[in-house]
Symmetry: C2
Subunit: 369 residues, 2 copies
């Protein structure tokens, strides 16, 4: 806001099932790759922000700021941020504020999650911490259940068919096949999506992002320049429980964050060439495209029906690249930078949300031409 913030290094682990690696191992791998990708040394880092949602439950480990700090020889100051599945992007938002405040010059932002060490029942309940524990858990809802309700309602309101919805995950899998860090690098024919086991009708297994381990890292700087600059960083919130919303087929936090991000960047949405959006479930991608203003209400699926100037989840998205919760918002930025550098386009947008759109955080990146 007050000065230019550049992204001077990026790194990540492959996303997947890392039985042989600890939370710390994953962080270290992402951190090392981000530092090597930059022109800085570890000693240039003067603050660390860690994003993680579930470590206390899945790994008996809180206090990940201090753990990350000890990975560097000089142990810079550190803290952790959390906003459920939006933890990664709010960590970036926090780091940007710290840089803009002048309290730091080179901040390492690390996202990490290790989800495969516990049972799927425990992961399912842990993830419900992103919703309202008092209102939603007693009803028996899980996140697939919440998005199943949303998909049902969306189909009722707009006439989206199950067959058309298949296009979302099929496209994300096709994209992930080209991403060496993706958890699932296999193309899947459209019809196989709805033939996969039913999880929360109408959603099937292949509509759902997976349980993943992984870490991602970026280095932000106010003093070292690079080709990639942060043009906007905006957070918006909504109620935790969908039971308190007037509609469940649109997420107002996305709309609000998008309006403010475009204002901050002083561009229009037509300027955006690459989008990574939060497809925790296939139906979410459709709704997000509408809330972000890339499609009219009920028309989000059209961006999956024909080629568009805008690329959507070229990384494979959460569905096929994987969704280690705390790492996702940062990995979106890592991938968008690759896309901007490869296409020579100017603007990219990362859209990350937590819960059923209860926290939404958007970043707009600009490539210097």
């Amino acid at each position: 806001m007050q000065e230019d913030i550049f992204i001077v290094g990026t790194g990540q682990t492959p996303f997947g099932e890392h039985w042989d690696k600890s939370l710390k191992d994953l962080m270290e791998e992402a951190v090392t790759s981000a530092i090597l990708n930059s022109d800085l040394t570890a000693l240039d880092i003067d603050f660390i922000v860690v994003s993680n949602m579930l470590g206390e439950r899945t790994n008996d480990q809180a206090h990940l700021g201090a753990m990350a700090s000890a990975l560097l020889p000089h142990r810079p100051p550190a803290l952790r941020t959390e906003a459920a599945c939006a933890s990664g992007s709010v960590a970036v938002h926090t780091a940007i504020s710290l840089l803009e405040s002048g309290r730091a010059e080179n901040i390492l932002v690390i996202g990490v999650e290790k989800m495969t060490d516990v049972s799927s029942e425990e992961i399912s309940l842990s993830l419900m911490g992103a919703a309202d524990a008092e209102k939603d858990i007693p009803t028996g809802l899980t996140f697939p259940g919440i998005f199943g309700l949303i998909a049902n309602r969306y189909m009722h309101e707009y006439g989206l068919t199950r067959e058309k919805l298949n296009k979302v995950s099929a496209k994300h899998h096709e994209n992930a096949a080209k991403n060496p860090n993706a958890q699932f690098r296999n193309a899947i024919p459209e019809e196989k999506i709805s033939q996969s086991p039913s999880i929360a009708d109408p959603l099937c297994l292949l509509d759902c992002s997976p349980i993943s381990d992984g870490a991602s890292a970026i280095i932000l700087s106010s003093t070292n320049e690079s080709q990639i600059r942060i043009k906007a960083s905006q957070v918006s919130t909504d109620t935790l429980s969908i039971a308190e919303r007037p509609s469940i087929t649109s997420f107002p936090a996305t709309r609000d964050a998008m309006d403010r991000a475009l204002d901050e960047a002083e561009i229009t949405r037509d300027d955006i060439a690459h989008l990574e959006t939060h497809d925790c479930f296939s139906i979410a991608a459709v709704i997000n495209l509408e809330d972000l203003g890339f499609a009219a209400p009920g028309r989000g699926i059209r961006l999956y029906e024909s080629d568009s100037k805008l690329t959507v989840n070229a990384s494979g998205g959460l569905k096929a690249c994987g969704h280690p919760v705390g790492a996702t918002g940062i990995k979106q930025i890592v991938d968008l930078i690759k896309q901007l550098k490869s296409s020579n386009e100017k603007y990219a947008l990362a859209h990350n949300f937590g819960g059923a759109g209860a926290t939404c955080c958007i970043h707009i990146l600009e490539r210097a031409s």
Copy 2:
């Protein structure tokens, strides 16, 4: 750092066992009291930072930023920070950066913890998330165990006696008797401290801060002035495990944060009239006074042996006021403001740490004369 930050409102719940209140109830009570204590309305708040360590485990609830945001009619942007028992002070540090960045003008910082809903075994393991889960948990260590080792070593190095150590908790209980929000408002004779049940030799029950429920809140502003200004905010880190430290009778993160805080405030430690320090265990208070430079190594107990110009934990500290983890760092600031206004002194210092001094965050407050 770049502009003046004022504390324009403070509030808290009493600390204690709140069987009849939820995490949200506690937040709401602290938020309401902070807003009523200020000249602002809820609608003036343009960002919220929530501090909480254990909600995912003890209350099945993550994503507390969005939950707090929904307490206000306009749902401002929000996020949560965590650094174990230093979560509260790093939330304040984060809020200060957001204000200094110009991204917000009036930030509500809320600390909350509800620890009494689960068994003491579960709380004990949850709190070990503040240490190194890989190195410390397998050894069977708990936090009383860690500080028992520290107390033993300190007694060996400096000859502190068990009887002298009794003075710490006795003084904190005496102070808490005057604090209407304290969990334990009873004075306890010195000799009763070491007669209480042994927890981790040489530490007894009355050397340990309790399991507490509670919430605290402050409103920070860059645009609304008040009598109380933030003069310094500094974070420092160390290894999570004490097994990796050259000494366990001093916490270097406190020394580093203190040096930087005094530099930022441009004052000396002799200017400080009131101190709230992190006495999670009695021995910690003794060591903290040395690390903060108010006593030479081995002499920290002297501040409990005679009256001193500096007041130490006049609130009752963690021991007697209570220690709802995420609320503590913010409550220290709430109490220091009361102390400054009552004494007409100029400077006060809040010293909050996480784990065994793995994250230390210090704030210096200035009262306008």
